[in-house]
Amino acid sequence: MVMSGPRPQTSARQRQLSPGSRRLARPRTWPSLAVIAGCITIILVCVPLGVLLWSSFTVSKTGLPFGAGTHWSLSNYTRVFTDGRLLRPALNTLVFVVGSLLIGLSISIGIAVALERLNLPLRNVLFALVVAPVAMPQVVAGIAWGLLLDPRAGLLNKWLQMLPGVHSPGPLNAGSLTAITVIEGFMLVPFSLLLVAPVVRSTSGALEEAAVVTGASPRARVTKIVLPLMAPGLIAVLVYQFVTAAQAFDIPAVLGLEKGVKVFSTAIYSALNPAIGVPDYGRADAMSVLLLAFALIPMYWYYRMAGRSERFAVITGKSYRRKPIDLPGIAKWSIFTGLVVYVFLVIVLPLFILLWMSLQPFYTTPSIAGMKRLEFTAYQRVFTVSSFLSTLRNTLVLGVVSATVVCVIATMNSWLLIRRRGALGKITDVFAFVTHGIPGVVLGVSLLFASLSLDSHVHVGLYGSMPLLVIGMVIVTLGLTTRITTAGIGQIHKNLEDAAEMCGASWLARLRRITVPLMSPAIANAWVLTFAYALSNLTLTVVLASAKNRVVAVELYTRWNFGDIQTAAALGLLLTAVSVGATVAARRFIAQKELRHG
């Protein structure tokens, strides 16, 4: 049997043909490697979440999940719902999610329309600049904003204080819910723009022109043609980013936690790592289950939509860029200025303040006087102190290993889905997809509990180890990478693999020599995304942190909380440079490959 075409069931009839005959030279029905990967995917999702859910209904004498004297109980939930400490984070989360989505999506739609439809100068440069922060770790951005919006010494506040009637401290406060919400909104922009731009571009094409030809009024064109066509694409982006905002951790953790402003995800973290007292595992557990439900429900909706939206295939189709709208000079230049200001505020200023702080021995607002104090001690420290070096090494190992493992699993999953087309492929795809809806902090808690109980019952040294971090990173990135590799395999003609099969090449040889080289752009894309993600991830690394598996993101966060701003800034810039460098290299590789394969 071979791996092609709709697979027939082994019918009763077929068995009748050869009663009792030995199944001679029966080849493997499907390559076991892919099946193993599919099973791993299912296990990776089910086991940690199963442990989380199960342990949330138990309590133990020690307070540890599955500790001594574990028994069934609803007390975790009753405690969370009745002790009055749930309402505040819940309301904060609501404001945070709705606010950041409003800000993030309206900015991205505005920029998308401006760059796709208006005759602005430097459109491609502006697009690249707005999208670039995709590769900037959010923990680093959070620190930069913390420095910029410091009520007393923050650069932006200093500038605003020059206005009459504005006095120190303020008016902006990095630790306020408003600031956290607005900054998270900025964080959502780059990826949203990547998702929204094709929607805007394709709907501005032929169909709209057809409406013009039929004599529809401009208003009818927008309400009858453009909006209905864009709606599925925009709703998909909205739901996807809702899940992102609901599980956002870095910005609220860096800016809000110290000031006592908690959203759901940081509230779970502080239950595990309280400023005073012992960890409250039961609370973290029950709250994680609630957050999981909050994030997964829209994911279900999104999955249904993503399947149905093929009806609106035009939104993904390629389309030529329509002649841009020619705005009068004043409007054009004011929009252009607005974009430049945005880029300055959200990209240039944060990077500048990090650079400044990394070169200053203590916290000072940038000034000419400060120029005399420039020093490179922070960078020297990073590259000479051995604990820093091991942190750097851990970070790179985490990035490389997670990216490689997840690419192998994602490629196998996609192969199962696209080529083998069985039930296992579909189930695996659903599980891989679900991973995007698992909030990082929830996964962290799940893995923490799973590793704690494994350690205490089977004595596997997983708790606080690097492999545990890799497992976590693989799970959180599996959804996105599988989508990328699925699109990659989908673009390869099946005949190219069939031809290799007819040449006598085994399944592994076909995969190695034909399929993987042909989908290498997709794999490179998935690899570098995971690599950059693992480098910048704070959620999992901080929840699962120990002395053994310390990575740069955790180091940064700790330094920041201790007030060692110089080192934090230097590390932040270093991390950003590696992440951006890897992304740029991958882009070049992909562009080169795509050019060559036509």
Binding site: S4, G5, P6, Q16, L17, S18, R23, M502, G504, L518
Partner: protein
């Protein structure tokens, strides 16, 4: 060079949710002789590509048996995977690997060959040798995507034959080429396969291609083989109405037999039609009083000169009618004649003057009037029309997937 035996082969696709199972190939029996160039001819959905993929091992048969050189490669109990069948295959869209050069494409097949992997200098020599045969030796180092359609086709052929396969399968290899190139590639392909002496099975929906290239043709419809034979036989004496219409142009006259065709020696049948009684030949059994259709190829209808109207004899039928259309087509003129309520098409020399409305007399030899049972295929296959629509599914889907 090996013989391929296909015995009662069936291929049924398990139905998707909401639709039943679909039979793409239903009990096909064929013997392809060693070294033969065998063509599977049929329209899309006839099951020809599915059958070819079953021989290749890219599809699993659900019934019957396939033997190559006397060895069972597919049956209910035994399946030799495609990689071990020693078959070369040329795909419709060439399936040239875009990330390899011409030489690498061909060498890949050599490296993984069943007949023993070849590497190094020996492999280089063999690759060169085969590229020489297909006329691409000077493009060995060229990237595969920088080739024209015809060149890609040659690379695909070289790759399929380089490891000296027992059988060569070709799936509509010329359908993506332009008309001029297609004509020259037909001859080229025949030359190369003859040179290599490989058993070839060639799938096409193009009847001209089948007639020009085949040693023997099997006409398929609806998952079944309707007729197998050399091109001349299939064209001149179709044994099935569908075959007659599908292979070449055909005039069809409905009628009813006056006599049965009896034994082999007396295959002559008189048929009453709206044009009067015509003498015809039957290659399959017909009874007296049976509804038949008479098939006449346009080139067998002759215009008789005005002055000397022929008389009908035992060998010659005579038809009179009125010209309704004259179309100049270069070398010949296509003439449409209305006679006895039916329309007949024929070809005349383009220098013959002919005008619409003129009365004409036509003659046709009795041996070129073929009597075929009307709707015979449908009796054997109740509800055939519906099933053909259904059977379009997997084959079309497979082709779609191939694209």
């Amino acid at each position: 060079m090996k013989e391929v035996v296909i015995a009662a082969v069936e291929k049924t696709y398990a139905g998707q949710a909401g639709s039943g199972a679909v039979a793409a190939v239903r009990g096909v029996d064929l013997v392809v002789k060693a070294g033969e160039f065998f063509v599977l001819l049929g329209s899309s959905g006839s099951g020809k590509t599915t059958l070819l993929r079953c021989i290749a091992g890219l599809e699993t048969i659900t019934g019957g048996e396939i033997l190559i050189g006397g060895t069972t490669v597919a049956s209910g109990s035994r399946v030799v995977p495609a990689v071990r069948r020693n078959i070369g295959m040329v795909f419709q869209d060439y399936a040239i690997w875009p990330h390899m050069t011409v030489g690498e494409n061909v060498e890949f097949a050599l490296r993984h060959a069943r007949s023993g992997s070849l590497r190094g200098a020996a492999a280089k020599r063999r690759v060169h040798e085969v590229l020489e045969v297909v006329g691409l030796a000077d493009l060995t180092g060229r990237g595969a995507t920088y080739l024209s359609g015809g060149q890609q086709q040659r690379v695909a052929l070289a790759r399929a034959v380089v490891a000296k396969p027992d059988v060569l399968l070709l799936d509509e290899p010329l359908s993506n080429l332009d008309a001029r190139l297609r004509a020259s590639m037909r001859r080229e392909l025949r030359r190369i396969t003859t040179e290599l002496g490989v058993t070839s099975i060639y799938v096409t929906h193009d009847q001209i291609e089948a007639l020009v290239m085949a040693d023997r043709i099997a006409v398929m419809r609806n998952g079944r083989v309707l007729q197998v034979g050399p091109p001349e036989e299939v064209y001149r004496t179709p044994s099935d109405l569908f075959v007659g219409e599908f292979v070449g142009e055909a005039n069809l006259l409905p009628g009813r037999t006056l006599s049965a065709n009896g034994d082999d020696a007396h295959r002559v049948v008189d048929v009453r039609t709206s044009l009067g009684t015509l003498r015809s030949r039957a290659v399959v059994d017909v009874r007296a009083g049976q509804d038949v259709k008479l098939l006449i190829r346009p080139e067998n209808l002759h215009l008789c000169p005005d002055g000397a109207p022929p008389t009908a004899t035992a060998e010659v039928n005579v038809i009179t009618g009125v010209v309704t259309e004259v179309v100049f087509a270069g070398a010949h003129t296509e003439i449409t004649v209305r006679a006895g309520g039916v329309t007949l098409h024929l070809q005349a020399h383009s220098l013959d003057a002919m005008s619409v409305g003129a009365s004409v007399t036509l003659s046709v030899m009795a041996q070129w009037v073929i009597a075929l049972p009307d709707g015979g295929g449908d009796i054997a296959d109740p509800g055939g029309a519906n099933k053909m629509v259904a059977a379009t599914g997997p084959d079309a889907a497979a082709q779609e997937a191939d694209r």
